[in-house]
């Protein structure tokens, strides 16, 4: 724990994970989640676990945001259509 690098990485993960919970709007949550994924990958690298970091990078940087944002778009679509009809 005496390595400042580990402390910085841990603090970053704690901050962005808290922010991911605290933010309410799903689209903004997905943005925070993407940053959390990157920061987690850095933490795993610092803890000398590059395999896990690589998994986290692969899933967290593009795939999870895409799944969340597609779901958000699907949920928002009926509303948008109503607005367009109005």
């Amino acid at each position: 724990m005496d390595d400042p690098l580990i402390v910085v990485a841990l603090v970053l993960v704690a901050v962005s994970a808290t922010a991911a919970v605290a933010v309410r709007d799903p689209a903004r949550q997905a943005l925070v989640l993407a940053v959390l994924g990157t920061v987690l990958a850095v933490l795993f690298t610092v803890l000398q676990a590059p395999d896990v970091a690589l998994s986290q990078l692969a899933v967290g940087s593009a795939l999870t945001p895409l799944l969340i944002m597609l779901s958000v778009r699907k949920v928002r679509r009926p509303q948008r259509k109503k607005e367009a009809d109005r």
């Binding site: 724990m1 395999d51 895409l66 779901s71 009926p78």
Partner: protein, 245 residues
């Protein structure tokens, strides 16, 4: 029992659990200590089997059965998604409209797509040598394909992505993993045992069955993610409420 007593009992139990957990935490080995009894044994075993990346040796050799379980979880969850997100009777498909993408973004997507494909294959092929492996590389491959949706539009992606083909390939890759496991039985050892010659340390052919299982997982993950995203994209872009127009 009144509400008060119940709360008291719950609080007592919760406090007891918390005290025990904290006490247990103080008895844990120190963070980043020098003693790793499990790690030492794993590294010794993976070096004995000529696998440079210990994690790959754990995933695809020493605990290959666990990976079979993980693969089945992914397979089953994609199957569940396919069933849940199918087009129901009160929905219809609207053709996606073409998208106007800025030229640099479109060129970037078209240039990076092949590079990402090769990188994904590189990560899969070198799973037993350097960090990486089937799962990571497979996800990169699937993500690469969806650059076509992000950088161009959904119609372009649909042209080069026959979902049926990816579904079949997914099932084939999953069964390839099982067949490789059964081949161990045929060779006279155990299910998913590393029965092939170990090869020269730190080359592409080292590690016995590890590279083959890696490739099977890579193909399985890539196809599973493509099928999964296809369902999500169909729902988000094409399928709309209301009957046939």
């Amino acid at each position: 029992m009144t509400r008060r007593t119940r709360l008291f009992v719950a609080a007592l139990g919760g406090t007891g659990l918390a005290v025990l957990l904290v006490a247990a935490c103080f008895c844990l080995p120190r963070f980043g200590g020098a003693q790793h009894p499990y790690g030492d044994r794993v590294v010794r075993a993976s070096l004995a089997r000529h696998t440079a990346n210990t994690i790959a040796s754990v995933n695809f050799d020493q605990r290959a059965f666990d990976t079979l379980g993980e693969m089945s979880i992914l397979f089953a969850s994609v199957l569940g998604t396919v069933v849940l997100l199918r087009q129901t009777r009160d929905e219809h498909r609207a053709a996606p409209e073409p998208e106007q993408v800025a030229v640099p973004v479109r060129r970037f997507a078209l240039l990076v797509l092949p590079v990402a494909v090769v990188t994904g294959l590189y990560v899969i092929a070198h799973g037993q040598l350097s960090p990486g492996g089937g799962f990571q590389g497979g996800v990169v491959l699937a993500t690469a394909l969806h650059l076509l949706y992000l950088g161009v539009d959904y119609r372009a992606l649909e042209r080069i992505r026959p979902v049926g083909f990816y579904e079949i390939a997914d099932a084939l890759a999953a069964s390839a993993y099982l067949v490789l496991g059964l081949a161990g039985l045929v060779a006279g050892t155990a299910f998913l045992a590393n029965f092939l010659p170990y090869g020269t340390f730190n080359t592409l052919s080292s590690g016995g069955t590890v590279p083959l299982l890696n490739a099977a997982i890579g193909m399985e993950v890539a196809c599973a993610v493509v099928v999964l995203l296809a369902r999500f994209l169909d729902q988000a872009v094409e399928i709309e409420k209301g009957g046939e127009k």
